[in-house]
């Protein structure tokens, strides 16, 4: 960014420590009056070197590390890592395990969206909504906790299956929580939609058009809010998503209001997916029969090869590129997180907006610095 400031211009640092940010990043703004005329994003404050760490850990240890990529999407990070290894080894989880994975990943998506909505509301000064969302999210975390034993970093998936089966009576428990959630969510949506200040701050603000969004390489809810029907679950199906009936939630306008609407719709859609999965889920083993997976934890040697596997994270397209050289550790792991392109698209998006809207726009993209830095 050009730091030579002209008349009636000023430079402003937003971050790296700021109350509105989900994690540390530095947003340098050049302002003319209250208008943003130039912006630059600086990253790397919590770079953990996860790609290098994974090269030095065995495959089984790697699952635990992938939890830490993003604290809100541990389940889909596990999925992308385990999926890569399964494709390299050439095993497929049995159907029951696949349905369990789908249910847990959708629960994980719901809690991620709930926190995303909550954080966004705080940044608008709508703190009541934050408390509501956190309250509903806690119920979902309890459901995840019942099966996995932890709230956030679950390390639940294993190569070829999942660690534990559902406990007795789990379906009823999930259904009662989800039915409750849907009712409450409708009330919250009404609260959003009928609030005139909320509408003024979100309708027509931070608009992404279809063309710009695809050019910037954005994926996930910000892209679907512009009307592009891109969802890895539909376009490049994995697990049993092919057998499930769900629609890709889209909006047309591409502004903040549309992004929030997409997230709320996706929660309803996830609930629908979970209901179907419980209905269709067969009984059976958790791991493929006749293989050592699940019975012991061997020092795994993965046959040489490479694979690129992608899944739909709560925030967009999550991919992993893994190269194996036949040893017990991966040769190279590249994590392609969904937040990375979203964060990259932020500076062009906030050009020519008012500085007061920057916080709202940044929060509506639902960024997670931890994942972008890795």
């Amino acid at each position: 960014m050009d730091t030579n400031i002209g008349p009636s211009e000023m430079l402003m640092h937003l971050g790296p420590q700021h109350a509105i940010q989900p994690g540390p990043y530095l947003l340098d703004l050049r302002l003319k009056g209250e208008l943003v005329v130039d912006a630059e994003l600086k990253m790397g404050y919590i770079h953990k070197g996860i790609e290098k760490i994974l090269e030095n850990k065995t495959y089984l240890q790697g699952i635990t590390i992938t939890d830490r990529i993003c604290y809100l999407a541990a389940m889909s990070n596990n999925e992308v890592f385990c999926g890569c290894v399964e494709r390299l080894v050439g095993i497929e989880p049995p159907e029951r395990s696949q349905y369990i994975r789908v249910i847990m990943e959708e629960l994980s998506r719901i809690q991620s969206h709930l926190l995303g909505l909550g954080e966004f509301s705080t940044d608008l000064g709508f703190v009541t909504m934050f408390l509501y969302m956190i309250r509903e999210r806690e119920e979902i975390l309890d459901l995840i906790d019942t099966v996995t034993g932890s709230r956030i970093t679950q390390t639940y998936l294993r190569f070829g299956g999942v660690r534990e089966d559902f406990p007795e009576g789990y379906e009823q428990k999930v259904m009662s929580v989800l039915n409750d959630l849907e009712k409450k969510l409708d009330q919250h949506e009404d609260l959003y939609n009928t609030d005139s200040i909320y509408r003024q701050r979100t309708v027509g603000v931070g608009t992404l058009t279809k063309e710009v969004a695809t050019e910037l390489g954005v994926a996930g809810p910000p892209l679907r809010a512009t009307g592009v029907k891109f969802d890895v679950r539909k376009d490049d199906p994995y697990l049993v998503y092919d057998d499930l009936d769900f629609k890709v939630c889209t909006q047309k306008k591409g502004d903040i209001f549309a992004r929030i609407k997409v997230r709320i719709d996706e929660i309803h859609e996830s609930v629908y997916i979970i209901k179907q999965s419980f209905d269709q889920m067969p009984q059976g083993p958790l791991f493929p029969e006749g293989t050592p997976y699940g019975r012991r934890t061997p020092v795994m040697r993965v046959p040489p090869g490479e694979v690129f596997y992608r899944v739909e994270d709560p925030r967009g397209e999550m991919g992993m590129y893994m190269i194996s050289d036949g040893s017990d550790t991966p040769y190279r792991v590249k994590i392609r997180g969904p937040v990375y392109p979203t964060m990259q698209a932020l500076p062009p998006l906030i050009l020519n907006t008012y500085v007061a809207d920057v916080a709202a726009i940044a929060a509506s993209m639902d960024g997670c610095t931890s994942e972008a830095d890795r």
Binding site: D236, Q344, A345
Partner: protein, 159 residues
């Protein structure tokens, strides 16, 4: 209808000398090596004619045994499910390659990251500087296999 076969045919027909060892792994995955000089034109062709309008990922890989670095591009699309993996081999002591930022805007950060982690130089990149690491680590190329790492370099920047 654009599928894996169509894309591969189009690529091999347009660039008969630059697409090396192409292979179809499944109906949604293609993989191929590309000559270093041709990568920009190949990407441009894919964006303009094959609806491959989404750069999913770009990264480097180090092969010290062969004394080579590889740049790997994963190019996907919002329209069809095919993911094309393009790989370019570079000499390890002087890795220089043409930047594809003019074709895919979001390659910008991927290339900055690959530069600071592997030392791959991108020609015509608009703003080639470190993204994630501190400036003092530039030149260490930490994701190369011969990086000393912990504990040898731990206290270097603290003194």
């Amino acid at each position: 209808m654009i599928d894996a076969n169509f894309i591969l045919n189009s690529l091999t027909k347009t660039f008969p000398n630059d697409i090396l060892e192409p292979s179809i792994e499944s109906d949604k995955r293609i993989s191929s090596y590309v000559n270093t000089d041709a990568i920009f034109d190949v990407c441009k062709h894919m964006l303009d004619n094959l609806e491959c309008n989404h750069l999913s990922c770009e990264c480097g890989v180090d092969y010290p045994d062969r004394n080579e670095l590889e740049v790997v591009y994963h190019i996907a699309s919002y329209e069809h499910p095919v993911v094309i993996t393009l790989k370019v081999k570079l000499p390890r002591d002087d890795p220089v390659i043409e930047s594809i930022v003019p074709v895919y805007w979001n390659a910008n950060w991927y290339e900055r990251e690959t530069y600071e982690l592997y030392g791959i130089m991108y020609k015509n990149h608009p703003d080639l500087k470190p993204l994630l690491l501190m400036d003092e680590m530039l030149g260490d190329w930490p994701l190369r296999k011969d990086y000393e790492g912990f504990p040898n370099k731990t206290s270097k920047n603290l003194v």
